[in-house]
């Protein structure tokens, strides 16, 4: 299958070439510009090769975990670490406490006592238990489809475990199905193809059959001469299936 194959094929294909993909994500970017702040990031896949791109989105989500592992509340936790952080080494905790005591004694022109009236740190409607989730839509040359990569971080920059991903990102009704997906998809992990650090991703082996089914049923209902419009709606369609299991969706009015 050459890169020109799609241009000459009579109908839409679930498999994409890289240029199809780039067209599709740019269309998607335009479609969502008033709804979700996706960004386009360029990178050089190999020296001397033209730049390629992928989409990124950062979302803040409520975390189910506090540092003690208890279900989160909307008030601050009682340890020295960032709420929702992983368990801290006792030696480090000792050091942190020591530092807090030590530094408290040093005068710093910091009249925080007087200022406490003016500072509202907490509120019943405020939570510190949140995660920052990065979503990336990257092209997979081997599967020839988009792949959804993601990672979630606590406010101090530390990454969370797969278990926490399930707790915080996967809607409850989906968890069983995703965990047991076995051969048919599910959450997996590998080095991000561009950033080369470990990222979770939704396994793409389900994507082609799924998209084929949809494109098939769409082509039965659309008129001829629609041309490449399937590429324009490819990402919306794909993401609405792939993303809902992992907390990113497409606005319903699109």
């Amino acid at each position: 299958m050459t890169s020109d194959a799609n241009a000459h094929q009579p109908g839409p294909s679930a498999r994409l070439t890289y240029s199809d993909f780039e067209f599709a994500i740019k269309a998607f970017l335009h479609q969502t510009r008033h709804h979700t702040p996706w960004s386009y990031v360029e990178y050089s896949p190999r020296r001397g090769q033209p730049l390629q791109g992928y989409l990124t989105l950062t979302k803040l989500v409520h975390s189910h975990h506090t540092s003690s592992g208890a279900p989160s509340t909307t008030t601050t936790t009682t340890s020295t670490q960032v709420p929702g952080a992983a368990t801290i080494d006792p030696a480090d905790q000792l050091l942190l406490d020591e530092l807090a005591e030590q530094l408290d004694d040093i005068p710093d022109g910091d009249d925080h006592d007087e200022d406490n009236d003016i500072v509202i740190q907490q509120s019943t409607n405020l939570t510190f238990d949140y995660l920052s989730v990065n979503y990336h839509i990257v092209f997979s040359p081997s599967y020839q489809v988009p792949v959804l990569y993601f990672n979630a971080y606590r406010p101090d920059g530390t990454a969370i475990s797969l278990e926490e991903i399930y707790e915080s990102l996967v809607p409850e009704e989906w968890r069983g199905a995703i965990r047991n997906s076995g051969l048919n998809g599910g959450i997996s992990q590998q080095d991000h193809p561009v950033l080369n650090t470990p990222y979770f991703y939704m396994h793409p082996c389900e994507t082609v059959p799924l998209m084929e089914t949809i494109l098939q049923s769409n082509s039965n209902t659309t008129t001829a001469g629609d041309g490449p419009s399937y590429l324009e709606s490819y990402i919306v369609t794909w993401l609405s299936f792939t993303g809902q299991a992992i907390g990113v969706s497409v606005p319903t009015d699109m």
Binding site: H35, P37, H62, I88, L99, A100, H112, T158, P198
Partner: protein, 689 residues
Amino acid sequence: MTLLQFHPWASAVEAPFWQVLTQRKMDIFKLDDSPKPILGYYSTGQQVRIPGKDTSVALPARLCLGTGAFPDDSGLHEHPLNKTPAFTFPAPGVVKNTNTIEDFKSIDRAALFKMVVDQIWDDITSGRAALDPSTLNRFLLVTFADLKKFKFFYWFAFPALQADPAWSMDAIQEIGAVWSPTIVNHLREQVDHYKLNFGPSQSGFFLVKEGQEGLSVARLQDWDEFYVGCDESQVIVGFADPSSLDSNPGWPLRNLLALLQYRWKVTKVRVLCFREVLGKQDISASKLFIAQLPSYIPVTACPKAVGWEKNAQGKLGPRLADLAPLMDPTRLADTAVDLNLKLMRWRLLPDLQLEKVQNTRCLLLGAGTLGCYVARSLLGWGVRNITFVDNAKVSFSNPVRQPLFEFEDCLEGGKAKAETAAASLRKVYPGVNANGYSMSIPMPGHPISPQLVESAQNDIARLEELFEQHDAIFLLMDSRESRWLPTLLGARMKKVVINAALGFDTFLVMRHGVGQDQEYHASNGTTPLGCYFCNDIVAPTDSLSDRTLDQQCTVTRPGLSAIASAMAVEMMVSLLHHPEGIRAPADKADAEAEQDAFAQQGSALGLLPHQIRGFLSRFKNLLISGQAYDRCTACSDSILSAYDEEGFGFLFKVFQDATHLENVTGLTKMKEESEDLDMEWADDSEDDM
């Protein structure tokens, strides 16, 4: 009028910031710990939905440090990947990264804080803040990066000039209560244009004026022309508000009010807390209120300031981010190896008990061809604890057949095999807990001279200790008799024992039973499986002395060892998956079972035979089983009791003379009886003649 209360910043650091800080320190800063400029960003206040519920809850006002925090080589933040994200506002800051934890502990906190405060005040008094209001957001970050452990101690300070007397506010109103939707929408468009025209440095702070055609927006520096002919009530000062609390604006307003007070002598002003839902063209969450001072008091000197970020306990102190899982190469190797194994479970075999296999502590007796290949296969399964025992040194013929050794290990007499094999494993995978012990295993029929008795005792005690500390023992030595003692110990301690032995082109891989194990088998009606010695009616004896050179070296077809070793490891893993464990009955391959190996197997991985005998000349394996022999010289009850009662004394007798085993087990008596029978025959036959 109530006291104006502010919602403070909460720091939010992205992992890449720590990675770039590490890189800069190693490549550029090195030991220079002077403050370096960085760029943070923030967005207007956001809410987050509680999953499963219809409610949203406010997020704290986040000042973020991301990939673009450090300027690129030209000192700018203009690289496309370094721009602050869309819909965010810039906050310039400095980071002081100390070189040691002691430096971190002893930093002059007050001086650093004052340095930033002075700079903010200087910006205000010199007019720079009016030209670039993003400087009102100046912050300080003190860090100590432990580059060996990838741990980052950090502490933010967000200096805010204190107003004395403090500002008050009247009731806060939603923007929709003050202006019609058309006007609000028009304002939003104006602000968008404003941001586009004047860029990021102006975007967080602006002026608003109500006019005939609606609201118009201008920069702070345009104050004088913008408000010409207006009175105090027409002045509306807007700022991008990171707070999403109903009644409290965010921190940037503090320094903004200080600027307004100093520069334009403002004592009463309408404030627009500009809050936009990211990317949705919705500013309905914005708020308006009037801020007021009781009177105008000229500020001549730099006011006091506050703003060290409290830790999660609400106390003043630093925080710690542990990024080892993301940055430490050893941890990354862990993750990758783990993931590879998990893929087996996710994709193919959901019943795989990876943790059980990984946590099985394996003792390898013998670090030769079998030992090396077994260790490598165990590593492939993710086994974390591997111990070698071997008394030899690496010799020149070893490296080609024993994949844990290299040429250099042979030089100068050769390194100790056990320790070298362990070191080699660690090079392959640093996360493994590999150890090696150079020691000899005493053998039946190899008498111990009096001066070596004590050291033999120590070796045996050591061996017993190693048995206790491990779950699975692999017998991988090159002689029959050296397997005797470990077989006894394995049966006694009911350990998993996997035995592999090589002929020239044949091999045996078997799992030992646990001796007669009467209790278990009586109640289950099953028969116990045998050990390596159960088929012998003679004691294992000295097979090594008085042999020619070619008989002493175990010469085998080179591929055989890899095959046998791999089978040994897979047999162990299969055993671990069998619910009966070491007492699992023997599976045999018969015609029916051949059709569907998973049909009647007890292990998730398939058949679990007792013995595999391989014939490389025919590329054929046979699955065989053997029962435990009640006169076995290694695992029978009489032997185990003798060991229990006499301990080393019994063992010593065996080492001095192997026939002692035949006596204890009753084999001697049995042979005498059968010889008697023979003699009787002989007598009879003579008579008949």
